[in-house]
């Protein structure tokens, strides 16, 4: 019989959100309010965490009440690796905070069996004036390690971080990257029975993330219980055996990780590599043109969440032209993880630059060559442009997204280089190097 590591029972968390107070238009009113403000301030701060029974009754719709979590119940077996997915504001982080004992539930309870470590942030408690070595101890104990555990793992932590040389330098002189590496190295060496992680894999460069992911995989294999929040669907499917889908503070799906991820992506909640609008009436567009579907495909025509960096990817948009008086130009704009606009592209067929399209269904595909995009997430803006600068019948930011992955099998611009290779694009260039031996070199 497997034991329950975590039991969440009918959990709700209510926040009071600030409402704008009434403003005064007369000096007299303003003075009266000023005199009263200590009382109203006191009530306001007190009400932050106190809720009346009316407010907590199920059907109450208060303007200033936010149900961050509502009637959430689930169990986690010992050794389960559970991924929690959902859009921003679905309650994922609140759930982790309540389970981590940082903020109390408003209703309901949680029972946890085992030693917990939560990792809601990398480098909590790092002090800039302390050296790397000192911060390893401080951060380690903050995360719940005993001093002798840190002693025992110290060399491993330092190895993992790769900042040996700067161990006795105050952390304030570290680069951001070094700080993150050191902090993650400490976190990666936690050995709790239950590990709670929030999106921390989103930091650091790709190579370091890869290292962390494989470390996480080990953690899962060691039979530890893991709760993992991420927007990285590839990581969720790779690491987790089970998924929980949150929406508006409630659980709307609880199943194996693969089906939860696909539910999440196809429901249009996440930024997926493919979207369609079965009903023309809800589709983006107007009387001239309506978008029907968009997707990212690989060279075999299959939808590609993860694109091989070496191979071309196709950006496909399907649309219905409804009138015959518009010059319509499909348009894509690609932005990377850091918000850098990588490039924009517009229909290359010169015929359509002046000629209106006849009504009917069109499918336009733009092929992005292999070895052009850098590793990481790419977000695609989909638009329908016209010769009029301001008239765009369709424009959808972050409409679809895909992940460019370098499998490190050679043939990419990396070759066998595993270090950093930064930049918004990563073309594979022709390099030539001429060589002259020392004797042949022109003498001086």
């Amino acid at each position: 019989m497997t034991k329950k590591a975590i039991t969440v029972d009918n959990l709700s968390k209510v926040y009071r959100i600030g409402l704008k107070g009434a403003t005064n238009d007369s000096f007299g009113r303003a003075m009266i309010d000023f005199a009263r403000s200590p009382f109203s301030n006191y009530r306001k701060y007190r009400s932050l965490y106190r809720f009346s029974e009316d407010e907590l009754a199920g059907n109450y719709v208060g303007e200033d009440i936010l149900w961050a979590l509502k009637n959430v119940s689930f169990d986690v077996d010992q050794g389960d690796v559970v991924g929690i997915v959902g859009v921003n504001g679905a309650g994922k982080s609140t759930l982790l905070k309540v389970i981590s004992n940082i903020t109390p539930p408003t209703i309901g309870s949680i029972t946890i069996r085992g030693r917990v470590s939560s990792l809601l942030e990398v480098g909590t408690g790092f002090h800039p004036e302390l050296t790397g070595r000192e911060n390893v101890y401080l951060n380690g104990t903050i995360l719940g390690m005993r001093k002798k555990e840190v002693d025992f793992k110290f060399d491993e932590i330092v190895d993992f971080s790769g900042v040996e040389k700067f161990l006795d330098t105050p952390v304030k002189r570290y680069s951001m990257g070094m700080r993150v590496r050191l902090a993650f190295a400490v976190a990666a060496h936690l050995e709790p029975e239950i590990l709670i992680i929030d999106e921390v894999l989103a930091v650091g460069d790709a190579e370091f993330q890869k290292k962390c992911l494989s470390k996480m995989e080990d953690v899962g294999k060691e039979g530890r219980t893991v709760l993992f929040v991420s927007h990285n669907m590839a990581a969720v499917t790779r690491l987790c055996s089970r998924g929980i889908l949150l929406s508006g503070g409630s659980i709307i799906g609880d199943s194996d990780a693969h089906s939860i991820v696909s539910t999440y992506l196809t429901s249009g909640m996440g930024t997926a590599a493919s979207r369609e609008w079965p009903d023309s009436a809800d589709a983006p567009g107007d009387d001239a043109v309506r978008l029907r579907s968009i997707r990212v495909i690989d060279t075999d025509g299959a939808v590609a969440e993860g694109a091989d960096i070496r191979k071309p990817v196709g950006l496909v948009m399907e649309y219905d032209v409804l009138s015959d008086d518009q010059v319509l130009l499909p348009y894509f704009s690609l932005t990377n993880d850091e918000g850098v606009l990588v490039f924009s592209t517009i229909d290359q067929d010169i015929q359509w630059h002046t000629e209106p399209r006849r009504p009917g269904r069109y499918t336009s595909t733009a092929w992005v060559p292999g070895n052009l995009l850098s590793e990481g997430m790419v977000y695609v803006l989909v638009a329908m442009r016209t010769p009029h600068r301001k008239y765009r019948p369709i424009q959808l930011g972050d409409a679809i997204a895909f992940n460019v992955i370098d499998k490190m099998e050679g043939e990419s611009a990396r070759g066998s280089w595993v270090g950093r290779l930064s930049g918004a694009v990563r073309p594979k260039l022709d390099w030539t190097t001429e060589y002259k031996s020392a004797e042949d070199a022109p003498g001086d």
Binding site: Y49, T103, P104, I107, H127, L143, K147
Partner: protein
């Protein structure tokens, strides 16, 4: 690690406030963290200063000099025949510790709010950390005490045996007040503004610059419940060998124990919602 006993830790998190007192088993589990927090405070305190730990001496020293000139020379306050420098030194050393520990403890949660929202550990470690960390400054400032007492050739008496329990009382006062104020300060930032004049006024409520016997007879009973009175009078009697005036010491000790217990309970009741009211 394998050598750690596989004790099963069961945590229950539920809604509502509790009247529970401190969970000592949990505090024990976090003792290494407590050690590192105190050690961090000590290390960081004088980081990037030229004088470093000399500040721990300079700060009370300047106060002693100023007060000795104003109250000893100019106002000529009666000190029952004790030289004013000696009289004020034995009081200002524990006072400096108590006022600094109190201020630091009251601001500890607000300053730690970043950490507060990201990780759980017993919240009471926040106000307790400066209570221990400031002991380093206190120990250093004892140098002044030794120098002044040697200069005036004070002979030590058996009263000195009272010093260790008095040092505990000296720590107990800012701990109790610190827990109260820290828990209030996280909800009402007014505490921060009130603190600066509170400390300035507090020095006059205790027999630091004057003798307790200068208080009129009819007020002495109430006066004696000030916990600062107990510590200061105790320090003076213990170090200078003057008669121990229990009527000034016992009531204050009772108050400080009560403040400590009520502070602990209030802190525990409030600690769950700290994050929600930041």
């Amino acid at each position: 690690m394998k050598d750690v006993a596989p004790e099963e830790v069961v945590t229950t998190i539920s809604a509502g406030n509790s009247w529970a007192f401190f969970d000592f088993a949990e505090l024990r589990r976090y003792r290494d963290l407590f050690y590192f927090l105190v050690w961090r405070d000590i290390k960081v305190l004088y980081a990037q200063t030229i004088l470093g730990f000399s500040w721990a001496i300079l700060n009370p020293l300047v106060q002693i000099v100023v007060f000795s000139v104003i109250f000893g020379r100019v106002a000529r306050i009666d000190t029952d025949g004790i030289p004013y420098v000696l009289f004020s030194t034995v009081a200002i050393i524990p006072w400096t510790y108590m006022s600094e520990a109190m201020t630091a403890a009251s601001q500890s949660l607000v300053q730690g709010k970043q950490v507060l929202g990201k990780i759980y550990f017993p919240r009471v470690l926040f106000p307790l950390t400066p209570i221990l960390a400031k002991l380093v400054d206190f120990s250093i400032s004892l140098v002044i005490l030794v120098v002044v007492m040697t200069y005036y050739q004070v002979t030590l008496t058996w009263n000195l045996l009272l010093l260790p329990p008095l040092i505990l009382a000296m720590m107990l006062v800012p701990t109790g007040i610190g827990m109260w104020l820290a828990a209030l300060a996280i909800r009402y930032r007014d505490v921060k503004f009130a603190m600066s004049f509170f400390i300035k006024l507090l020095i006059y409520t205790a027999p630091i610059l004057y003798t307790a016997s200068a208080i009129p007879e009819q007020y002495r009973f109430w006066y004696s419940f000030n916990p600062l009175v107990a510590v200061i009078e105790g320090f003076r009697a213990s170090l200078l060998g003057t008669p121990i005036e229990w009527q000034f010491i016992v009531p204050g000790l009772i108050t400080s124990v009560l403040v400590f217990l009520s502070g602990a309970i209030y802190f525990r009741r409030m600690e769950k919602v700290f994050v929600d009211v930041i």
